[in-house]
């Protein structure tokens, strides 16, 4: 099909964004940046879902992405509240320094 986007390219972009998200989540030490990387991975998954939904000609992909965005909003509010509470306790959000539950 000339002029339209192959699903392969959509999945390639999605995979690249997901890999960048994994790199951020594994290599950064700032808890907020790890959280941002997780948001990026969710968006990569959303792109794959929308690509498949469009290629298969249904609206189900968009409905699932709608739910993912709603849950991401809930997750962000709770996660950030945890960071605020943690910062009050330890004065840092560097994940290498937070080892209260480690041993």
């Amino acid at each position: 099909m000339i002029g339209s986007i192959p699903l392969f390219d959509v999945l390639l972009v999605s995979g690249a964004l997901f890999s960048i998200g994994i790199a951020g989540a594994l290599l950064r030490r700032n808890a907020i940046q790890i959280f941002l990387s997780i948001e990026l991975m969710m968006n990569a998954a959303n792109l794959a879902l929308l690509g498949y939904g469009a290629a298969l000609g249904t609206h189900q992909g968009q409905v699932i992405v709608f739910f993912v965005i709603a849950i991401a909003a809930a997750e962000a509010s709770v996660g950030l509240a945890i960071f605020v509470a943690l910062f009050r306790h330890t004065e840092t959000i560097d994940v290498n320094k937070i080892n209260l539950l480690k041993w």
Binding site: G3, S4, L26, L27, N30, Q33, N43, I71
Partner: protein, 170 residues
């Protein structure tokens, strides 16, 4: 034309996502991710989901990332210090995991790539799907899930309030 815009937007999204994890200052990191999400919204329009693209800009870039910025300003977190407490083994293993994962993903895509269908061609604005169709699906087949999400959001609201309230308020 569609193809060109998709490639440019995808490239921009990947570029700023890379910038997001490369920058040490978390505030700049959030701003890079905002740009990346705007570019992704363009991609969403081109994969025939204009409603989700609007949600992406309003909810993700507009609300969630602003919440991140808000908390960053509140906590006053500075840039990551480069040289304290290095953990070389973790860095090496982490990089290895990323490379292996990306390689596996690419290998899987290449193995099934020729069998994947192409997206249907959208000609003009009229060919984009109607948000009413999504709403009809949401309030019929997915009604239970929709209500469950509303309860979840309420729970998250109460949970965030309890967690962030602090010790002295008790």
């Amino acid at each position: 034309m569609e193809r060109l815009i998709f490639d440019a937007a995808a490239l921009l999204a990947i570029l700023f996502a890379g910038l997001m994890i490369a920058l040490r200052d978390p505030v700049k990191s959030v701003l890079a991710l905002v740009v990346s999400f705007f570019a992704l919204a363009v991609c969403y329009v081109l994969v025939l989901a204009p409603f989700i693209a609007a949600l992406q800009i309003i909810v993700y870039a507009g609300a969630i990332l602003v919440l991140f910025l808000f908390v960053l300003m509140l906590l006053n977190v500075g840039p990551e210090k480069p040289d304290q407490d290095r953990r070389p083994i973790q860095t090496v293993l982490g990089s290895l995991a990323v490379v292996v994962f990306a390689g596996m993903l690419l290998g899987m895509l290449r193995a099934s790539g020729s069998r994947l269908p192409a997206l249907p061609e959208a000609v003009g604005v009229d060919a984009l799907p109607d948000p009413a169709a999504i709403a009809r699906l949401l309030f019929s087949d997915y009604l239970l899930h929709f209500e469950a999400v509303s309860v979840l959001l309420l729970t998250a609201l109460v949970g965030a309030f309890v967690l962030a309230r602090g010790e002295d308020a008790k």
